[in-house]
């Protein structure tokens, strides 16, 4: 079913114990306050995955999502793919092929402001060499959009699951330019906090990044990697995980060994999808809306 704007229900992030809301006013920010806007996060598309027991529509799921995004009645200003664009392969040439195919598939998006970041499946084995060659040299970067400062961090291209000293210094230097009340959205692939370290659902030096972010009043962290919606607070910083687009993974720590959740013919595409965030800048607030693969709003 395609998105029906009349049935659009916002998940008020403030409603989840008040914990999922970043709010506040800021003064003398170096970033000019802009209009409210919508952006979209899609994650873990794992292009190249081919196990029909897990997803028999492995070649069609992303295309279906793109069709759904293209028919959103309130198109987002930009789209962020938050890593694991492709599925891991040990073959360097196959990795390049998958990254190239991924680029071609997402060219069907009507929204042309598309932002990418790597996941460990894309970039850990060659430390981002193929990714940089085919999708651009930036593994971590910042951009500003209508009064919100977006910071994209790379916690995957070093296979040690770290941001690393150089990137932390870069982050500190970037943050120094900002007012403490500036609205900041941080994108990572893996969570910055210790969700399940034994499953590598963490960043070994993520606490260092959080320490740098903590003085800032309006920080929200968005990530992927865990293939399910999840919400968590570290102090006043809200962390929201996005669903995956190829296969779901078990709830954090719910089984001894994590493995993809098999396809359920009775509920095709269950647990997969994307989300939009309605960004309000005065006061700072983000309303999350979760969508299924076919564009249905998830309640």
């Amino acid at each position: 079913m395609k998105l029906d704007i009349g049935r659009r229900h916002f998940l008020k992030v403030a409603g989840i114990g008040g914990a999922l809301l970043a709010s506040g006013l800021w003064k003398n920010s170096v970033i000019a306050a802009g209009d409210d806007f919508v952006f979209l996060q899609i994650s873990d598309t794992h292009w190249g995955f081919s196990n029909p027991q897990i997803n028999p529509d492995f070649a069609g799921t992303l295309k279906e999502e793109i069709a759904s995004i293209n028919t959103l009645k309130s198109p987002p200003d930009f789209i962020m793919f938050s890593g694991d664009l492709t599925h891991v392969t040990d073959d360097d040439q196959e990795r390049r092929k998958r990254l190239t195919e991924f680029r071609k598939v997402i060219a069907e998006l009507k929204i042309k402001d598309v932002r990418l970041m790597p996941g460990e499946h894309d970039a850990s084995l060659d430390e981002g060499e193929a990714y940089k060659e085919l999708l651009g040299p930036e593994m971590h970067y910042v951009f500003d959009h209508k009064g919100v400062h977006f910071i994209v961090l790379d916690n995957v291209s070093d296979p040690r699951t770290v941001l690393g000293e150089a990137q932390l210094e870069w982050l500190a230097a970037d943050l120094k330019k900002l007012d403490k009340a500036a609205p900041i959205v941080v994108f990572t692939h893996r969570p910055l906090f210790d969700l399940v370290p034994g499953w590598e659902w963490y960043t070994r030096d993520g606490s260092e990044a959080l320490k740098l972010l903590m003085p800032y009043e309006n920080v929200v962290a968005l990530y992927g990697h865990i293939h399910q919606e999840h919400h968590h607070m570290t102090g006043h910083i809200a962390h929201h995980a996005c669903k995956g687009s190829m296969y779901p993974l078990p709830a954090p720590g719910s089984v001894p060994v994590k493995a993809p959740v098999p396809w359920d013919p009775a509920a095709p595409y269950r647990g997969l999808g994307f989300r939009t965030l309605d960004a309000h800048v005065k006061p700072v607030k983000y309303d999350l809306t979760e969508y299924s693969v076919n564009g249905e709003v998830m309640k």
């Binding site: 891991v88 392969t89 040990d90 460990e120 850990s124 084995l125 995957v156 296979p159 040690r160 699951t161 370290p197 034994g198 590598e200 001894p256 060994v257 994590k258 493995a259």
Partner: protein, 122 residues
């Protein structure tokens, strides 16, 4: 005669000292359990490591291909396993049991299956 007795005494003393040193070194060697473990995509060898509770253990890891990791949360020990060098983990198990370990540096298609077990016996 006195000189001969002194010489015999010195020889006996030296022999006793040597025996003590030998026994001492032997017992130290017995106390430290040194186990060599190789890592490669996507397995450890041996994948089951058996050690004794209360006896110090030295795990000597070498990688045969690329960077791997060793993480055993149940025993609170971890290490990177860098290729081209020996990576050492020393610990003394304080509890008997079976403890899972796994590679925690993403290493490829079989990364999630690169696992092993440490068995600590009484």
């Amino acid at each position: 005669m006195r000189l001969k007795r002194r010489a015999v005494f010195a020889v006996r003393l030296a022999a006793i000292v040597l025996v003590v040193i030998f026994i001492g070194s032997f017992s130290v060697a017995q106390e430290k359990q040194v186990i060599k473990v190789t890592a490669k995509k996507f397995e450890y060898s041996p994948s089951t490591i058996t050690v004794k509770k209360g006896v110090p253990v030295v795990l000597e890891f070498t990688s045969l291909d690329r960077l791997h990791g060793f993480d055993c949360p149940g025993l609170g020990i971890r290490s990177d396993i860098n290729p081209g060098k020996t990576n050492t983990v020393e610990f003394t198990p304080q509890k008997a049991g079976t403890f899972e370990f796994h590679c925690d540096n993403f290493c490829g298609t079989g990364h999630d299956k690169m696992r092993g077990t440490i068995v600590v016996t009484e």
